[in-house]
Symmetry: C2
Subunit: 142 residues, 2 copies
DNA sequence: GCATACGATCTGCTTATGCGTACGATATGT
DNA sequence: ACATATCGTACGCATAAGCAGATCGTATGC
């Protein structure tokens, strides 16, 4: 029951709170897999759609292109991504997941999905589906 | 239609993206009203439920209690909040909105709500309601 | 061939944030 | 009265982020 002065919080506030909650949830999972949040984001971005330039990758995941470099260095050193000059334009580094990178991403993602499912389990079934649909739509750039 | 490798993104990624989008949307509104994000958050927190201690306020809005102080100083200097020692325990500063603070918050909030509505207008009506219900539930601390 | 543009990389500046410490004023338990 | 704890406040430190400039290798238009 709503009473005056007890309306719902701003969208922004709620989304931010949920975001913090999700990050808190994911952090131990990532730590357990020995991978940083940025590294996981990179693996996710690269999965299925190898990116042509690092600048494009940075833009896609909303990261600073200079800050991204150490992350890529590390992932490459650990054999999780490949980064080779484009034969057609050797300025460009073609980025792609190695099989090991793909596996790692799959494993981490499985754990994260499981935790997410546990969260969503509290919701009514119809709300849950609508929530995901809406969230997907609203999080699109357009 | 979903094809393999084109599943939905992680919850965390979508929520974060939406959060950034909302912040980008709110920033010009807040600037137009001459108020910072933190100040707005404080006004929102104080609206309707005056807080007994500053530490409690900081905890409630997920802020650092030392960083909060300049924000409160500023809000007080501008006559938007009151901060007086609790007669019953003079260590404590009782925080509350002044009428001006209440008005300011109402005005800013109206603009932010309007922008939010514009965002949500893209959604199907049922999705919209379910989205808000679910978001409200998921953003709760418990 | 040369000027110009572009991608990746490195460095440094600036700001925001989280965290710990210290201190003064005030309450409270003994 | 005195020891101890709590609140607000100030200060410093370490980290992370956004941003700008410089460099180097490489492409491309003229």
């Amino acid at each position: 029951m709503r009473v005056p002065g007890d309306e719902r919080a701003d969208l922004g506030a709620m989304v931010m709170r949920l975001g913090r909650r999700l990050i808190a949830m994911e952090e131990p999972i990532l730590a357990r897999h020995g991978i940083s949040m940025w590294a996981y984001i990179v693996l996710s971005a690269l999965r299925g759609r190898p990116t042509r330039t690092q600048a494009a990758l940075a833009a896609a995941i909303n990261a600073d292109k200079t800050r991204l470099i150490p992350v890529l260095d590390d992932l490459q050193r650990r054999g999780l991504i490949e980064r080779e000059p484009d034969p057609a334009d050797r300025r460009v580094r073609l980025l792609s997941l190695t099989p090991a990178g793909r596996d790692r991403h799959r494993d981490v993602r499985a754990d994260i999905r499981a935790a997410e499912e546990a969260l969503l389990a509290d919701l009514a079934k119809e709300d849950r589906a609508a929530f995901l649909t809406a969230l997907e739509a609203l999080s699109q750039v357009g």
